[in-house]
Symmetry: C2
């Protein structure tokens, strides 16, 4: 992310990292940690007319699989569930990298990319578990507090699974990487850290009187950069 950086996907090993190897990784622990911290994924598919489409979606990883869901009637879910080639990307933005030279400006980030064909999840037990994972990924402990899906709701929702087989992580950390001869310039250089901040929970205006904010929501935080 930035001029000094490029992720490539060659045909023979499409997630092999060709450039800036020091930032890339096929390490499953790194990939999983990024998938688990991110609240939003971008799911890219190719529509029947050849047009790629990247849509933001909630997701959840369970072991070697990432689940996403959407309305059964939606074009995107139908295409994905039909086994079209897919790409799921998550990106965590950790900072802005301000260099002394324009072209070394960059971002500190962690991203993970999974390539493959999605499988529609139709077995009721796995489908329910996947939906549970997605709710629990948003707020751990939430599933047991809320009304579970009805059969009609289950039918109206499509769940797709993408196996973590062809996957890579990419990370940029640290200060700017200016050319040595630029270190004498007068420009300030460094990093502006960015993180996801959690605000005070806002009760639904229709909330029944007497329902207190649960303690685990009062303490809700997102994991930051390790």
């Amino acid at each position: 992310m930035g001029t000094e950086d490029e992720r490539t996907g060659p045909a023979s090993d499409r997630v092999r990292l060709r450039r800036r190897r020091e930032r890339g990784s096929h390490d499953r622990a790194s990939i999983d940690a990024i998938l688990d911290e991110a609240l939003v994924a971008h799911l890219a598919i190719v529509m029947p007319d050849g047009q790629p489409l990247a849509i933001p979606t909630l997701h959840a990883r369970e072991g070697d699989v990432v689940y996403c869901h959407g309305a059964s009637a939606g074009r995107t879910m139908r295409t994905t569930a039909g086994g079209a080639p897919a790409c799921l990307t998550v990106s965590l933005l950790d900072g802005l990298v301000l260099a002394r030279s324009a072209m070394h400006h960059s971002a500190n980030y962690r991203s993970a990319i999974i390539l493959g064909r999605a499988r529609e999840v139709t077995e009721p037990g796995e489908k329910r578990a996947a939906l549970r994972s997605i709710v629990e990924r948003i707020v751990p402990g939430r599933w047991r507090e809320v009304r579970p899906p009805t059969d009609n709701e289950m039918r109206a929702t499509a769940v797709v699974a993408l196996a973590i087989e062809e996957a890579s992580a990419k990370v940029r950390v640290g200060p700017p990487a200016d050319d040595p001869e630029d270190h004498e310039l007068d420009a300030w250089a460094g990093v502006i850290p960015l993180s996801l901040a959690v605000g005070a929970p806002q009760p639904d205006p229709l909330l029944r009187p007497g329902i207190e904010l649960p303690e685990h929501l009062r303490r809700y935080r997102r994991a930051g950069r390790p």
Copy 2:
């Protein structure tokens, strides 16, 4: 984003919003505001083998065009610059929507999607202006403080332009949309707001002594939800 929500892209009018129309918009002001607030875009292209690939990238809008850049030698940039169908998506996450029922859990967000074929920017003036826009989009006023690109740096960097012609915005705001019969349940319901927080700037360890943090960086903030 969430079970109750789906963005679709039909073939005849691929960015037409079919479902949940109340959340969709083709309004240019809405699209532009989302593009301008987002620090990161996801650029999706179809690789020659048919595999879609979505990569995080910095971007900048100038009028009716969005620019991205990357290493000239990178596979992604070469494919994009070659005129492959592309999709640029930006997503801003504003909150987590906690409903009384599992399936109405969702996210408050603003996203914009642009479809089209990218054009490689080769004219030196436009290319330099595009790179300036990307740096200025990260930190307004930064370009004049730093060393401009050399001819070699310009050659090593590819810039692509995507016209904002086929585009849509999608926004979810407000409290959960529980079914009326669920309002009597005991679960707390509401929204946990999320925003991008800016930390204290971290000077490059190699920063020359005596260079103070400029005032505009001391006051650096990202625009929040309007």
